[in-house]
Amino acid sequence: MRRRFEEALALARDERSLDEVRVAFLGRSGAVTELRRTIGTLPPAERPQAGKTINEAVAAMEETLERVRTQIEARAFEADLAASIDVTYPPIPPQLGGIHPVRKIVEQTAAYFGRHGFAVVVGPEAEPDYYAFDALNIPSDHPAREGFDSFWLSDTLLLRPHTSPMQVRTMQQHRPPIAILAPGKCYRRDAVDARHLFQFHQIEGLLVAEGAHFGHLKGMLTGMCRELFGSQQNVRFRPSFFPFTEPSAEVDTTCPKCKGRAPECNMCGGSGWIELGGSGMVHPNVLREMDYDPEVYSGWAFGFGIERLGLTCYEVDDIRRFINSDPDFLEQLQ
């Protein structure tokens, strides 16, 4: 039996076959158990010696077994260590999801303004014209109303053509200081092309407080552009005209693609600047409408198109991609 055991053991190559050998010889119904059963058939005087011999054999077999097990383990460990895979083999893709680039830009902006004490407010898209126009110093016969070519739902209700109604809503509900961002969808009756959507997102900023001034507007928007486009970014303010701000300014930022250095740049047209949107000091008529004393409080506001920021941020060739939301577009901009 010892010989048969050694032979079987020599064939064992892994833990499993080793275990089979153990069960066959040392298991509950193995060869050793069989052998023990025969002890009873021996004359009583021989039994203790037989038992002893068997026990010694079992001990020796167990020892051998343990030795072989150690050897096998060592071999397996070495084999494991010696294994090598092609690490460039394509990975198993995780189930990924992601937020829309518009939300990404809003969050980045909100993070910057949030650090400086601004809250973020959201509100309705269908607005009475009071909020969209009248309260913003655009009375009903003002030509600027036609500039905001709007979708009307009734004589007085329209889809907001800008996020500025949130200025009015917030100023009605609170007293200064007011420090908000207001992102959201807006609608204008624009023909859709590579630069225009009839449904787009704007982000509005408003600060009304004692002592708020134009230099602060410049400071915050410069910081925002650096947050979005990089620390080398410059910001330019040009005089402009909006009914709800005075003084008013258009805001440009250095073309992030050519940094103002490539005359043939297709992003900025060689001007070196990208237009971000409008801004300015809140018009005293708007403050007065809110019962804020313009002699005490001053404020500034800005409103930028988020998809336009996205065109610049991510070098997107066509603004329609933001609303088509193709999987490839979304995945690339994560």
């Binding site: 973020v120 005089p239 402009s240 005075e246 609303i323 979304l330």
Partner: protein
């Protein structure tokens, strides 16, 4: 507005470099959209045709002797037919470089030609705007002079954008004035003195009766000895062409020129066609029919103002003249109108009639009444130059008002701009722009110049101070914002939801809130009638933008059908419906996926289970709560695979497989699954509470129960948990089986109960006893039997 830089440089010394001027204009608030560079042209001089003969060898050619003030006459052969002896014309001499060719000596049918007489086209001017053939110059031009310099043909042309409040800058003088102030250079304006001194008798001298308050001023003036039809001199035609204005004849050209120069639009009437030379400015009669100069019949509304005589309207004020008083080649006397009308009425009229012109675009922005005299004077100067006899101008309407002074202090300027400008400096900036400054100690009383009607309050002046100082010069400062109580909760909730879904493997999309009727039609096709009345847009740009969405699902179905492969998407946005005539708007979230069908029995849908898992995970992340799911039926969902999730007795979400009829109507090949969550109605987020685990080990028992088909997994879990009472840690159904082994009308549910005590190790005896009680209760309440 297009303006040649050379024109601006006539009024003010500004740099020659168009880029630096464009940059300066942009920083003054007048962005330059384009700088059009003129092609380089050399060697073209003024010449005079001294003699003209037929070409000896060619019928179609003529040979001219041309005087260019050189040592001798040049011999030039030409095929042009509009040449005649005595004409002064541009001559490209040997060596001249034109945009398309260089002039070399050559023989034309045996005659040596020493140059070329050139047309407008060859000077890079629009050929169709000028005479056929050789361009005709003024007879008094110095022979031999360089044509390019003489006519400003080398100049860059700036296309300047003027904001709606700055109609005063919609002209050469206006922009020159801004540049002069900015560069600190003097402005050289011609004296606008009206040369008209002749007196005409009653019935010939124009009179104006203004019957509407919306005409502030009307300057009328009579001219004789000038008719329509003849071309204006080359300098004027060239300058108009550079401005993008087509030359017509000298009267039209004068009115356009004066408008581009001074900003004041003009109109000319044939004096013989204005009864008694008496104008009446009145409101149009509703429905009044007129024929405009473009030959169109038009019907007016009461928005329009007309200039009429006693018989009929002669002109739609500020918009367009009428055929009945048009100046023609046989006109012997004309009447000039330089008037000021209410901008809003002009704007409405031009919009109603679909007639927009350079004139209406200025009138509608509220021109300064003071310009009427300036415009008339400038027109009179030009007409006299063209040989007309000018009569005395007559002004009607309200007297010119002196603008009211505006109080301004350096404190106010610095408060708004964040600067520390001294009052003297502020005063200097404003004076440079034409304001009159009166000092009251350190404070200013600023009277704006009459042409700046946009300056009415201190903030307007502060903008001009900032413009002169340069927006660049104002220091950028990050403010320290005082604390406030404005909440960002709604925004943060949306972001939290978006990130939770992104981490569950969904992609955020944005779709259109405006839709066409196809959503309803697809629903109807699937036998689904809309549950809500949609909000309709009154003025959609196209039919596919007529309705506001009442749900996000349809757009996601469309998106997924279009992708035609497994995708997982969500959208957060507003939906709209009519609620008793009012527009009700709410924030909502829909997420879902398209998935390949699985090889599963009809009573199992793992996609549905995954959707439910995502829905519960999301709600737990956002609200810290879990809800109760129960079976439901919803329009648009599969009747057997729809559920509702309630939290605290309120519906928080509904979800399920999209009704296959609807999927098909949307053209989706794959089964679609959607979940709707009402963001506006979500319960408040609850803080999680920690429950320490028992220090004693738990044990479990699995049961295989056979129940009727209508007994749900939730029923089994709930009943089992209730039966086990305080010993129950959890109950969890982990398998379902239907088939021959359990028999028709029944199913087998495998459920695991985990039992544990907080005060001691639970014993096998305790466990078995509790399970026995539970099995009895499951039998009594649910008719469950233990599966053998």
């Amino acid at each position: 507005m297009r303006l040649p830089l050379s024109w601006l440089r006539e009024y003010v010394d500004i740099p020659e470099d168009p880029k630096s001027v464009a940059e300066r204009l942009a920083m003054l608030g007048f962005p330059v959209e384009e700088i059009a560079m003129r092609p380089s042209i050399t060697g073209v001089v003024v010449g005079k045709i001294v003699a003209l003969e037929k070409h000896p060898n060619a019928d179609r050619l003529q040979v001219a002797s041309v005087d260019v003030a050189g040592e001798r006459l040049l011999t030039i052969a030409t095929a042009a037919t509009n040449v005649a002896a005595g004409q002064v014309i541009p001559v490209a001499t040997i060596g001249a470089r034109l945009p398309q060719l260089t002039i070399e000596p050559r023989k034309m049918r045996g005659v040596a030609s020493e140059g070329m007489m050139v047309s407008a086209d060859e000077l890079a001017l629009p050929a169709e705007w000028f005479e056929d053939g050789i361009m005709q110059l003024e007879p008094d031009r110095p022979l031999g002079a360089n044509v390019v310099e003489l006519y400003g043909l080398a100049t860059a042309v700036l296309d300047v954008e003027i904001t709606g409040n700055r109609v005063d800058a919609m002209c050469a003088i206006g922009l020159a004035r801004e540049l002069a102030a900015s560069y600190g250079k003097p402005l050289r304006l011609p004296p606008f003195v009206n040369p008209g001194t002749l007196e005409a008798g009653p019935g010939r001298s124009p009179t104006v009766a203004i019957e509407t308050p919306d005409c502030a001023r009307f300057v009328a003036q009579r001219f004789e000895g000038i008719a329509g039809g003849a071309a204006a001199p080359a300098w004027m035609r060239i300058r108009l062409a550079l401005c993008g204005q087509r030359p017509i004849d000298r009267l039209v050209d004068v009115s356009n020129y004066v408008m581009l120069e001074t900003g004041q639009p003009l109109h000319f009437y044939d004096a013989d066609r204005v009864a008694n030379a008496h104008f009446i400015v009145r409101d149009a009669r509703p429905g009044e029919r007129v024929e405009t100069l473009d030959g169109a019949e038009r019907s007016l509304s009461s928005n329009a103002i007309v200039v009429a005589d006693e018989r009929h309207a002669l002109c739609i004020a500020g918009v367009m003249g009428l055929s009945n008083s048009e100046v023609t080649a046989s006109t012997t006397a004309i009447l000039l109108e330089a008037a000021n009308f209410n901008g809003t009425r002009v704007r409405r009229t031009s919009a109603e009639l679909g007639l927009r012109s350079e004139a209406s675009s200025r009138h509608e922005k509220a021109l300064a009444p003071v310009l009427t005299e300036v415009g008339a004077a400038r027109a009179a100067q030009l007409l006299v130059e063209f040989g007309a006899a000018a009569f005395r101008p007559h002004a009607f309407g309200r007297a010119l008002e002196e603008p009211a002074p505006i109080a301004l202090s350096a404190h106010e300027v610095n408060r708004l701009l964040g600067t520390s400008l001294a009052s003297e400096r502020i005063g200097r900036h404003l004076a440079a722009l034409g304001c009159t400054i009166a000092w009251h100690g350190d404070d200013l009383a600023v009277t704006p110049p009459p042409w700046r009607r946009d300056l009415t309050i201190a903030a307007d002046l502060i903008e001009d101070v900032a413009r002169m100082e340069g927006y660049d010069a104002i220091e950028a400062v990050v403010p320290s914002v005082p604390s406030h109580e404005i909440s960002s909760a709604q925004f943060e909730l949306e972001n939290k939801v978006a990130h939770a879904l992104a981490s569950l493997g969904y992609w955020e999309v944005v779709t259109h809130s405006l839709q066409g009727s196809q959503t309803f039609e697809r629903g109807m096709q699937a036998g689904i009638t809309p549950s809500h009345q949609s909000v309709e847009v009154r003025n959609p740009l196209s039919e596919d933008q007529r309705y506001l969405r009442y749900a996000i699902g349809p757009a996601l179905m469309e998106y997924m059908a279009h992708q035609d492969r497994p995708v997982r998407v969500f959208e957060i946005g507003h939906v709209f419906m009519l609620d008793e005539g009012h527009v009700a708007e709410s924030g909502t979230l829909t997420f879902g996926f398209a998935a390949e069908p699985l090889a599963e029995p009809s009573w199992r849908d793992s996609h549905f289970l995954r959707l439910r898992g995502d829905c519960e995970a999301l709600l737990r992340t956002v609200t810290g709560r879990s809800g109760e799911v129960s079976r439901d039926e919803r329009r648009g969902f599969h009747p057997g695979a729809t559920a509702v999730l309630m939290i605290d007795g309120r519906e928080a979400a509904n979800f399920g497989r999209v009704d296959p009829r609807l999927s098909r109507a949307f053209g989706a090949r794959l089964p679609l699954y959607l979940c709707n969550i009402y963001l506006d109605g979500l319960p408040d987020s609850r803080l999680p509470r920690y429950q320490p685990p028992s220090r004693y080990p738990s044990t479990y028992r699995d049961l295989a129960l056979v129940v009727a088909l209508d007994v749900t997994a939730a029923d089994v879990e709930r009943t089992l948990a209730a039966a086990l009472g305080a010993l129950c840690r959890s109950t969890h159904v982990f398998d379902e089986y239907r088939g021959p082994q359990v028999g028709e009308g029944r199913k087998s549910l495998a459920v695991r109960a985990v039992l544990q005590r907080y005060d001691a190790t639970i014993t096998d005896e305790e466990t078995d006893a509790a399970m026995a009680r539970a099995i009895a209760l499951l039998r009594d309440e649910l008719g469950a039997t233990i599966r053998e």
